[in-house]
């Protein structure tokens, strides 16, 4: 057997990489740097998207369209949706934590393709900037994040085209990331490590990446056709030229439904890592968790038309998609029951990480239940495109994914920086976020049921009070960001040292120093076959090892 060492994959050019914080602005090949790049970049976009949400909520405090111009309102909500999905949730739950953690979990020194990895990240900031600047040039896209034609063909072309370009770039980034994760998990595993011994997050990322690779290209193709319609005046989706608008919807949701699992499966994985550590108990039902992830992946690919129940789809199709969609509750339910069983009988530290994770469980169950209701055709016919749907998905994307991101930041901050966050401030952050979130989105269920459509800047005055409640909730959510940012800042500047493994966790990333050295381990990567072996008689070798590495590390 010949051993070849391709030049492109040599050591990640240690000497040439800038040191210190400048690393985060460089084309670094280190998976940890890239992970944090994703996280910071995503968080900046979260603040921007949140500010846009603030504009939406201010507009909606009164039933008239008075704060924003009508078309500006549509631009704002389009930007809000696009930024939150493509520049915040997807890059952070996949890119940030995936890049940071997966190589540790498989016992590798880096991702399979470090260069591709860096390219994937660096596609994001330009795409995001483009998207935002389009607002200042000629008006941003204003046909919603779904960009349904013919509206998207008839609104001003410049903004829509820029929107398409930036979503294409972000999709490309996502596909490159997905390929990298699949290759890393399947091919770069430390020999001796079996698939069934991997931490759950690896499985979640494997499932997610399969979805990314199978569905994102379809979105890319669709958007290319849409851009032809706009630029070259072809008629794919333009009924005036004989095109068919429903085909666009099918193609769009073929990606965008799986996209919702791209936003939430990694979050499921992260929760599965966080709960056992702070409950001091093994993850309950590992094998069923794995199967349920794969079940969600398979089902997730065949339910897209539940977004189109009022689009004139034939009855048999509605029926099939109802049943298929509702059945996603089964594998998802398995995961939730397993988490509760993980909590049950544990020794739970009530810290910020666990609070956000449990907040996630509660919020997501509500969002999931309204999802299952939405899946029923006759139910959906009334509430489709109303605030009921807005409430459903914010319960999931915010109450689910964003809560998990916060939980993960509290959990892994010591790993990233070697510093501890202030727990009391963290709990306070949780409390305000949880209250604000529920105040903001729970009333929206009622709004939708009683006749308030979504994507409107003006509404029936009978809904004023409830909308104002919701806006107060949004204000609380915005304010809750402050203690968090303060906490992070304080900790970075003068936070107490955390030590290598403040949580006494058993997953591999904690078995090295915090923050870890460039190639993750000074010596050989440890073989962790029981990442959740809490409460086992024979204690896993960890304390000794991490201390040794501590000395050698700066």
């Amino acid at each position: 057997m010949t051993l070849s060492f391709p030049p492109s994959e040599k050591k990640p050019l240690e000497g040439l990489q800038p040191k210190g914080w400048l690393r985060y602005l460089s084309f670094s090949l280190d998976h940890k740097v890239i992970g944090l790049q994703y996280l910071i970049c995503g968080f900046i976009f979260y603040l921007i998207g949140g500010a846009l949400a603030g504009a939406i909520r201010i507009e909606l405090t009164s039933p008239l369209s008075d704060f924003l111009e009508r078309d500006v309102y549509n631009q704002v909500l389009t930007l809000h949706g696009t930024i939150m999905i493509f520049l915040w949730i997807v890059p952070v739950v996949n890119g940030a934590f995936g890049n940071y953690l997966i190589p540790f979990y498989v016992g590798a020194r880096d991702m399979a393709f470090p260069r591709l990895n860096a390219v994937a990240f660096w596609l994001i900031p330009p795409a995001g900037l483009m998207l935002i600047t389009s607002y200042f040039i000629n008006g941003a896209a204003q046909s919603g994040w779904t960009a349904y034609p013919p509206l998207s063909i008839t609104t001003p072309a410049a903004g829509q085209i820029i929107w398409i370009l930036s979503v294409l770039l972000l999709g490309g980034s996502s596909i490159f990331g997905g390929i990298n994760f699949i290759a890393t998990i399947l091919k770069l595993r430390r020999p001796g490590l079996k698939l069934m011994q991997l931490p759950m997050y690896c499985w979640a990322m494997l499932g997610t990446s399969i979805l990314v690779v199978l569905s994102t290209p379809v979105l890319a193709g669709t958007l290319i056709l849409l851009s032809f319609d706009i630029v070259a005046h072809t008629g794919f989706f333009n009924p005036e030229l004989g095109g068919n608008v429903i085909v666009y919807q099918h193609l769009f949701w073929f990606y965008s439904h799986p996209a919702v699992y791209i936003m939430v499966l990694p979050a499921f994985g992260l929760v599965s890592e966080i709960l056992p550590v702070h409950c001091r108990k093994p993850l309950f039902g590992y094998i069923t968790m794995v199967y349920s992830i794969m079940g969600i992946v398979v089902l997730g690919l065949v339910v897209w038309a539940h977004h189109m129940f009022t689009s004139g789809t034939p009855p048999w199709m509605r029926l099939f998609f109802t049943i298929a969609t509702a059945f996603i509750a089964v594998p998802t339910g398995i995961k939730f029951f397993n988490w509760v069983a993980t909590l049950w009988g544990g020794k739970i530290s009530l810290n910020s990480a666990i609070l956000f994770s449990c907040g996630f469980i509660i919020n997501f169950v509500l969002g999931g239940i309204t999802g299952v209701a939405l899946a029923q055709v006759p139910f959906d016919i009334h509430v489709h495109d109303t605030y009921f749907v807005v409430a459903h998905f914010h319960y999931i994307v915010y109450g689910g994914s964003v809560f998990v991101i916060f939980s993960s930041i509290y959990h892994w901050f010591p790993k990233f920086t070697g510093k501890l966050l202030n727990e009391n401030l963290g709990r306070f952050h949780f409390l305000i976020t949880f209250i604000g979130f529920n105040l903001c989105f729970a009333p929206q269920h009622w709004l939708g049921l009683n006749g308030m459509p979504r994507r409107v800047a003006e509404y029936d005055p009978q809904f004023t009070f409830v909308n104002q409640l919701s806006s107060i909730g949004a204000l609380l959510m915005a304010l809750s960001t402050l203690p968090f940012l303060w906490n992070v800042l304080q900790s970075l500047l003068k936070g107490p040292k955390s030590g290598d493994n403040p949580w006494k966790a058993l997953t591999p990333e904690w078995l090295t120093s915090s923050p870890p050295p460039v190639e993750n381990w000074l010596g050989e990567a440890p073989l962790v076959t029981e990442p959740y072996g809490y409460g086992k008689k024979k204690k896993i070798v960890l304390a000794i090892k991490s201390e040794k590495e501590d000395k050698e590390n700066i």
């Binding site: 608008v245 039902g285 009022t310 004139g312 029926l319 339910g333 939730f336 009530l350 029923q376 495109d385």
Partner: protein, 275 residues
């Protein structure tokens, strides 16, 4: 044989289920009922609401209870018990949601059928003569032949054309050649609305009817319903269609037969009356 834990959890579950059913039946989150469709919808809603409440309260209760009961006492540095799984529990919580979901799916199928959603459109809409036969007709829900309202089965539906455009709904009564911005319909009479869009996608939504159907350019679509309550109800455009989407509203006026006839006579074209 029965440990106190079993008894307690049994009692709690019973309370939960009773409570959920009570909530489903007594908490009304929906607007007025004004079509044959609406009571069927509300029936489904009650069931979903009850199930949802039980699941949500149950799950959050478990989580909060665990957080309190199993929180770590100060000074306790031990791990919890190393329990990695339990096959019978796994089977239980795979089976229960599967059964619930299956039940909900079949039940909502039944509801949908009773609303008339499964009927083929050709059957009682052949009279929609003004539609080009070669083009496909797409259907919404809400057939007039709904089982709930036998009184409709005999009467032929009143046909009204709807054309949606940025940013208005225009109704056209082919018989009297009336063009109107308000939809006037007699109460308890089945209506067949033939919808087409002039530009982008709109949606016809009357919350009190629990009915919504996209109005799609290039695809004539039929929506059937039977109003059952006299009154004025808002017609709302529910699909983003441009800057004035939020202002794209109209009213459906459900009137007593006499009132409707009077309105009709007043507005019908002279030509028609002479014939």
């Amino acid at each position: 044989m029965l440990s106190p834990i079993t008894i307690i959890s049994f009692l709690v579950s019973i309370c939960l289920i009773i409570g959920g059913i009570w909530v489903g039946n007594n908490v009304n989150l929906l607007p007025a009922v004004a079509s044959t469709n609406a009571p069927i919808y509300d029936e489904l809603f009650k069931v979903l609401f009850a199930i949802g409440t039980i699941l949500f309260i149950g799950m959050s209760g478990l989580v909060i209870f665990s957080l309190i009961k199993f929180r770590r006492k100060p000074g306790d540095v031990d791990d919890g018990e190393s329990i990695e799984g339990n096959l019978s529990l796994e089977i239980l919580w795979t089976a229960i949601p599967a059964i619930v979901v299956l039940f909900v799916g079949l039940y909502s199928y039944d509801i949908y059928d009773r609303m008339g959603g499964m009927e083929s459109l050709g059957s009682h809409n052949n009279h929609s003569h003004h539609i080009n036969e070669e083009r496909r007709i797409w259907g919404g829900i809400g057939s007039s032949n709904s089982i709930e309202s036998p009184l409709n089965a005999s009467s032929t539906p009143l046909t009204v054309d709807l054309s949606a455009m940025q940013f208005a709904f225009i109704f056209h009564y082919p018989e009297g050649d009336i063009i109107s911005g308000e939809l006037h319909v007699p109460v308890d009479k089945p209506i067949a609305l033939t919808m087409e869009s002039k530009d982008v996608i709109h949606a016809f939504w009357v919350p009190e009817f629990r009915l919504k159907q996209d109005v799609i350019p290039g695809q004539p679509t039929i929506l059937n319903f039977t109003p059952t309550k006299v009154g004025r109800f808002p017609i709302i455009c529910a699909e983003l269609c441009g800057p004035y989407h939020g202002g794209m509203r109209a009213t459906v006026v459900v009137e007593k037969e006499e009132d409707y006839q009077q309105w009709y006579k007043q507005n019908a074209k002279q030509v028609d009356l002479e014939v």
